[in-house]
């Protein structure tokens, strides 16, 4: 019995590094945010006690509700845009072409460029009085408004620009895992390299592609610098509302509620993904 006790103790001790790490660095902030969002915990002052007032404000005030939709719009659209750009690039980097090494280095540049800098790049390029509008003006052409515009086109371009290299890296890895023979088989059967890419490589790399898409989507729900600097004046994404409420108005409860709603949205998307992929495996697994 003493031995059994010792064994269970050592088991717990062995679990501490892994589970403990998760609890301390992931569990506790999440728990604090959840508690904060219902008024049970707050930063600086005393907690007001249990209340759903923050969620009510967040989900009834049109400013914040528009912010939530806008955040989802930005994330979805920029993710799809970067996927659209990343796919041809992954196809391209598998081929050999002159200047490949240079290209392989250059396309990763946005990975190390902070969002603020990306925003300023977009600003200097396409803002009123920026490089492109001036060049167009000289040619007697108009230039569409891409900064502070209703559709947030500049923001989408900036966000997609930031996430393309990450997508290419993850998707490229999944693509590289597709056996060479399978692609060669497709080619001998009459598929051009582009057809082999679309009909064979892409479907086989689909798990990697969806994973990359999800990661970029979830990451982009927290995008702050780019929409804050070059987005439309209304609506503002939740990230900007969170910053303003936290650091300018000291409304931490509202911030926690917004954070919880965003996390919940991301979790739902993830759950849907697992459900779908599980379904897909079953469907093909059953066969006839």
């Amino acid at each position: 019995m003493n031995l059994a006790w010792k064994r269970s103790l050592s088991l717990w001790l062995l679990l501490i590094p892994g589970v403990g790490y998760l609890l301390v660095f992931f569990g506790s902030p999440l728990a604090l945010a959840l508690l904060g969002s219902v008024g049970l915990e707050t930063i600086g002052t005393d907690a007001p006690g249990f209340t759903l007032q923050y969620y009510r404000t967040m989900l009834t005030d049109r400013i914040y509700l528009d912010g939530l939709w806008f955040t989802l719009y930005l994330s979805t659209t920029s993710t799809l845009l970067s996927l659209l750009v990343a796919l041809p690039i992954t196809a391209l980097i598998q081929q050999s072409f002159p200047g490949q090494r240079l290209f392989n280095t250059l396309y990763k540049v946005p990975l190390v460029v902070p969002g603020v800098v990306a925003a300023f790049l977009v600003l200097t390029l396409v803002d009123r009085g920026g490089l492109l509008p001036r060049a167009f003006e000289r040619l007697g052409l108009g230039f569409p408004q891409l900064v502070r515009d209703r559709l947030a086109l500049g923001v989408l371009i900036g966000m997609a620009w930031k996430s393309v290299p990450f997508m290419v890296l993850v998707i490229g890895g999944a693509m590289a895992a597709v056996p060479k023979d399978v692609l060669a088989a497709a080619r001998t059967l009459g598929a051009s390299s582009w057809q082999a890419f679309l009909k064979v490589q892409v479907p086989l790399a689909l798990p990697g592609i969806t994973a990359a898409t999800l990661l970029v989507f979830i990451g982009s729900t927290g995008a702050y610098a780019i929409p804050n600097l070059i987005g439309p004046v209304y609506p503002l994404p939740l990230s900007v509302h969170m910053y303003q409420n936290a650091f300018e108005r000291n409304q931490w409860g509202l911030v926690a509620a917004m954070g919880s709603v965003l996390s919940l949205t991301s979790s739902l998307v993830l759950l849907a993904y697992y459900q779908l992929t599980k379904g897909a495996t079953n469907a093909s697994g059953k066969g006839v």
């Binding site: 056996p179 060479k180 023979d181 399978v182 060669a184 088989a185 497709a186 080619r187 001998t188 059967l189 009459g190 598929a191 051009s192 390299s193 057809q195 009909k199 064979v200 479907p203 086989l204 689909l206 093909s284 697994g285 066969g287 006839v288």
Partner: protein, 356 residues
């Protein structure tokens, strides 16, 4: 649909390593030719060049008289079967087989008919809507074969297609392959390192080593009368005996002389173990060192003078000789000589080797 295939002076280098050093080869229309050789001999590289997955550094490849080495894979009209099967895991069996037809924009009704025919041909009609991972290795390779054949390719390329299968299945599939080939007469190039497969399937075999073709011939020619030592040793077992000729007599390394008519003074004999007779003889010069019973035949290791010979005795009735028994050996009447490999002629004009 079948066409002839001609490779001329193909060279392929990887940096400092020459994988293929100027290979020329002709495969006649409807012929089944095997590239046989140890791993690293260049046989898969040659196949890659024909398939278009590799680009030659020099040389040309023609199919049906049309130059294809400048064309991408998909425009060479070839079918290919891989060691790894290389089926599309996301497509059902019938969609795998239909793939090439869809790429060729064949009408849906024709696709249906031809896919059904192809699956029928390999005996997999019942499994048409399964997915590859639900099939055994042998079934997968049959699908791959159907997939490659359904497009009626000008040339069928097979890259060690049986190597991943277990022994029994390998033999079974080998026989099926031979049956198919004799029916369809598709021009085929088959890569293997397994001599039994090569002998069983091929119209002709090209033996390769060190990035070159050593010699080309029918299985019978290459087995019975190989020109080079490498062929003799790689294709089956053989006894190599150095001897010298003098005054119309051949001096064997033990005290035996045979009548000889050839002029060269030094010769290398290649005698297959099953071509040597053996009889128990207390006064015989041979001494049995060991014997191994292998079922269909018995393998004896016999010392005679300074030479050790391997002798195979087949058939029932013969009682087993024991280690230490003295024996007499009976060499065949027709002795076959081979050339050392360093005397393999590198063709200066592509046509040379083709005719060799």
């Amino acid at each position: 649909m079948a066409d002839d295939l001609e490779v001329r002076g193909a060279i392929k280098r990887y940096g400092a390593v020459t994988a293929l050093g100027g290979v020329s080869l002709r495969v006649e229309q409807g012929e089944f030719l095997t590239l046989l050789g140890p791993s690293g001999c260049g046989k898969s590289t040659l196949l890659g060049l024909i398939a278009g997955s590799l680009e030659p550094d020099a040389g040309t490849i023609q199919i049906g008289g049309r130059r294809v080495d400048i064309l991408p894979s998909e425009r060479r009209n070839i079918g290919m079967v891989f060691q790894s099967y290389a089926l599309f895991p996301h497509l059902s069996v019938q969609e795998n087989v239909a793939f090439g037809l869809r790429m060729r924009r064949v009408t849906e009704t024709d696709i249906k008919r031809r896919v059904a025919d192809a699956l029928e041909m390999v005996g997999l009609s019942a499994l048409s809507s399964r997915f590859p991972r639900q099939l055994s290795g042998g079934q997968q390779q049959r699908v791959a074969l159907a997939r490659a054949l359904v497009i009626e390719p000008a040339v069928l390329l097979l890259d060690e297609p049986l190597s991943n299968l277990d022994a029994r299945l390998r033999e079974q599939l080998r026989d099926e392959l031979r049956g198919l080939q004799s029916r369809l007469r598709t021009t085929s190039v088959y890569v293997t390192h397994d001599q039994a497969e090569a002998l069983a399937l091929s119209d002709r075999i090209a033996v390769m080593n060190g990035g070159r073709i050593i010699e080309v011939g029918s299985p019978l020619e290459l087995y019975r009368t190989p020109k080079y030592r490498f062929t003799a040793e790689f294709l089956g077992n053989t006894n190599l005996i150095r001897a010298h000729a003098e005054n119309a007599q051949l001096h064997l390394p033990w005290n035996e002389r045979l009548p000889w008519h050839q002029t060269s003074s030094r010769v290398l004999l290649s005698i297959r173990p099953e071509d040597i007779g053996i009889s128990s003889d207390p006064g015989g010069a041979g001494l049995i060192e060991s014997s191994v019973f292998l079922g269909a035949w018995v393998e004896y290791h016999v010392r005679i003078g300074a030479q050790r010979l391997r002798v195979h005795v087949a058939g029932g009735g013969s009682s087993l000789l024991r280690s230490g028994d003295a024996v007499r050996l009976h060499l065949p009447l027709q002795l076959h000589t081979v050339l050392e490999d360093d005397r393999v002629q590198v063709p200066t004009s592509p046509a040379d080797r083709v005719l060799a």
